[in-house]
């Protein structure tokens, strides 16, 4: 079976500091990977998605970036955090080329607070 991990679970960072959130998937190969942000009391907003190593698509222009250095690893980064970057960040995966690739499975999330 497949599992998805995210860390850290909670993070408090000062404005202007860098950010690195990590997501890894086990039990499948060549998954599609996604980063979402959920602001307090709101739905989910897709930030980035990736269909393969080094292939990143951005949905929302901002000071965040994503990278996929390995098949099952997805990293969300920022060089300088803004107050507006605070939120709950969720990583998700779906089957790439087989199975129910339309269905996304979510990780436990990272709560980011920028002070």
């Amino acid at each position: 079976s497949q599992t998805i991990h995210q860390w850290p679970a909670t993070l408090v960072q000062p404005v202007g500091s860098p950010l690195s959130l990590e997501c890894t998937v086990e039990g499948t190969s060549n998954p599609n990977l996604y980063w979402y942000r959920q602001a307090a009391g709101r739905g989910l907003q897709l930030l980035f998605y990736s269909v393969g190593i080094g292939q990143i698509s951005s949905e929302v222009p901002q000071n965040l970036s994503a990278s996929r250095p390995q098949d099952r690893q997805f990293i969300l980064s920022s060089k300088k955090l803004l107050l507006s970057d605070s939120g709950f960040y969720l990583c998700a995966w779906s089957f790439g080329t087989s199975g129910e690739s339309d269905t996304q499975y979510f990780g436990p999330g990272t709560r980011l607070t920028v002070l």
Binding site: Q45, E100, T103, F106
Partner: protein, 115 residues
């Protein structure tokens, strides 16, 4: 552009009773997928049920079932025999079946269910 609307910010139900959560969507596409996700206090998004638009039969997963009305663009979730563990935020989501590759989910703003 597609939109998803959940008009009930909050709903309450007594244990063992039935509750229906509403979701409407707007799209010009004929083939797509619809989902209900549950987000408990832990905040991890859990897939509840999935519906393929080309299937007329309503999806069912144990106590959870949907009423999919394609012409009306309505996708409601019925929870039968409600349990304390059903208390959570419920999100409706839409995904195009297009292979053009955006893989994008459109989420509603959620309905908080109290049991």
């Amino acid at each position: 552009a597609q939109t998803v609307t959940q008009s009930q910010p909050e709903m309450s139900v007594q244990e063992a009773e039935t509750v229906t959560l509403s979701c409407t969507y707007d799209t010009s596409e004929s083939d797509y997928y619809l989902f209900w996700y549950k987000q408990p206090p832990s905040r991890q998004m859990i897939l509840v049920i999935r519906q393929e638009a080309y299937k007329q039969q309503n999806a069912t997963e144990n106590r959870f079932s949907v009423n999919f009305q394609k012409a009306a663009k309505s996708f409601s979730l019925k929870i039968s025999d409600s349990q304390l563990g059903d208390a959570a935020m419920y999100f409706c989501a839409y995904r195009s079946a297009s292979t053009s590759g955006t893989y994008k989910y459109i989420f509603g703003t959620g309905t908080r269910l109290k049991v």
